[in-house]
Symmetry: C2
Subunit: 355 residues, 2 copies
DNA sequence: TTGTAAGCGTTATCAG
DNA sequence: CTGATAACGCTTACAA
């Protein structure tokens, strides 16, 4: 028989024949399941390596009805998403979960990204800050377990894993008030998914201190921060501190202020949100609220796992005895659930913390 | 973990039965191929929609064996990669190809990313600036068409689509020389994939002007730029201009210089590489060499298409083996090779172009 | 125009 | 411990 022109056409049948065993034996041996002798296993493994055999994930998934592939949608342009994706990989590897990424771009909405993932028969979906209506989300959740990550959506049937935005904003406000600030402005996220939550958290935190919460319209990009800085520079009444919607906006703001000779934090303090890699740069030194991507990622995958187990077990008791943070709320609300991750503040130069 | 999950229970058999036709008719109708009456097609389509049917991509690909899925590896942390990924999606959509993304992170090398893509039986691979040996690349290329995007590697059997780095560096140097600079330093990319190419391009361009090419060790991150700036500030002989390896390093450098009261471009001009979104921000205003991600993406996908066509033809007509060294290398040099995209310079404030 | 049947590469079941 | 055999959901000759 002709040797395949393409090496990837080596199938398990070829391996089995070359090793002198049946395909089922080869399959078992290759997967490391018990049921074959050590000698056979070694021979099969060696043959497979020699032939350059690689399992066809598609065929396997087609046969097994319990795929391990989790689909992820994210926006490459958002640096926070990049951090989350990295964290997801870190959390997925030890769990033996395969990640399939699908990007959301200007020309490609969340729906397109999800459709492509669903066609690939991902067993579950993790949507990073999806910009969709709750109903749409619920629609997807009908066919596959869905986790909305870093999202304000609380929809029946979908698990939400998000930062406690109220606490995050309180962290920022308290930090500034402690340092004597009273005139604090929040530059909101404009069309950002979390805009309402963060603005609300800001207002609550300010009022708790008996302060007047001033919120200005901003956005999610550096450009929005730059525009805000320009408005701020020409305004009559300038605040003493600004809490931005995210780090990207905060950095745009910060750089423009500095370029205009404003002393940060002397004349004006700036606090960001997300604690991205850029915020930590020594020349930026942006104080920021950290969303803890690793915790978000871990809990998201764990929730998928528990939901999957429950689906499989149906009515039998769950034997888990861990004291996981998501445990309580998971039991309490059988079907939905918003698991909340506590943020923490990383104090740097822009709030006058470590000059 | 993740057991017992079924993405969608509705199969084409269900649709066919519900519509009162055979599965093959349903298949043909759903794919919009000719061979069924308009009435039947409509009935099947309607039934499918009502039942919430979705094709199982994996089963389809398993059967067709002519998959249209292209695997892509990239690093979420590199902003240039994000630009390329967006451009790839833009180029893929009209061509009707599906993209499958696989990230390269600190804990996950290119090899891991590629293995996962290969298990998914991607028909082809696009590796964005892969950090691997040529031999490894050639190994993958044996089983699937591979395009190395924005890579210096020129390996037999692998198509490379890259920016003309010599031209890019010449653009930067010429631009600075035109503005009267003669003491120009190149901050190289350290471990970056393109370090050797860009440094060589810099040297050539400088010598063409009769100037002494000074190259300093840098890196691919903002941190590297910051470190370089600190060295520069304390150095005895300071150049009048710096060409950085990429925008990230250039921006780290730029911000640190500005924070230290250095006038850019007055005291020192800075030029970056990649023309990332950040470089264009009004407060950054970084002059940069643009790699044109859209052109890179389009050409990469086009090369894959032509290569795939040729493979299809050859496997059906020529019963040769790939073990023939002469033939193989002949073919390789004939159909692969390096396609070069011309870069262009985007002049902004940091080189004193549009003050 | 439509239906029947044979796989694609894998794993699961149930015999030896 | 090992080996036939039947799916998984889909496409595609080939028949009707």
């Amino acid at each position: 028989m002709l040797r395949g022109l393409v090496a990837s056409r080596v199938t398990i049948v070829d391996v089995a024949r070359a090793a002198g065993v049946s395909t089922s034996t080869a399959s078992v041996a290759l997967r490391g399941e018990r049921g074959v002798s050590e000698a056979t296993r070694e021979r099969v493994a060696e043959t497979a390596a020699r032939l350059g055999y690689r399992v066809d994930h598609r065929a396997r998934l087609l046969r097994e009805h319990n795929p391990r592939a989790v689909g992820v949608t994210f926006s490459p342009a958002q640096s926070f998403h990049a951090d989350v994706v990295e964290a997801l990989y870190e959390a997925a590897a030890p769990a033996g979960v395969d990640l399939v990424l699908s990007a959301v771009t200007t020309s490609r909405g969340v729906a397109d990204a999800v459709e492509s993932l669903l066609r690939d028969r991902c067993s579950a979906l993790v949507l990073v800050s999806p910009d969709v209506e709750g109903e749409v989300l619920a629609g997807w959740a009908a066919s596959v377990p869905v986790v909305a990550l870093a999202s304000p959506l609380a929809v029946a049937g979908v698990a939400t894993v998000a930062t406690d935005e109220r606490a995050g904003m309180a962290l920022a406000v308290d930090h500034l008030v402690e340092r004597g600030h009273r005139e604090i402005v929040h530059l909101d996220g404009g069309d950002g998914v979390m805009t309402a939550q963060r603005a609300a958290g800001f207002r609550t935190a300010m009022r708790a201190h008996g302060l007047d919460p001033r919120v200005e319209r901003g956005g999610t990009t550096e450009e929005a921060g730059i525009a805000a800085a320009e408005r701020l520079l020409t305004a009559s009444a300038r605040p003493t501190a600004v809490v931005a919607y995210n780090d990207m906006a905060a950095i745009g703001l910060l750089l423009t202020l500095r370029a205009s000779g404003i002393d940060v934090p002397g004349d004006l303090a700036v606090v960001g949100y997300d604690d991205t890699r850029t915020a930590a740069l020594s020349t930026i030194g942006l104080t920021s609220v950290s969303q803890d991507p690793r915790a978000l990622a871990e809990v998201a995958l764990r929730r998928l796992a528990t939901r999957a187990d429950r689906d499989a077990l149906r009515s039998s008791a769950v034997p888990g005895t861990s004291a996981d943070p998501d445990r309580a709320s998971d039991d309490a609300t059988a079907e939905v659930g918003v698991v909340t991750i506590q943020p923490h503040l990383v104090a740097r130069q822009t709030s006058g913390s470590s000059r």
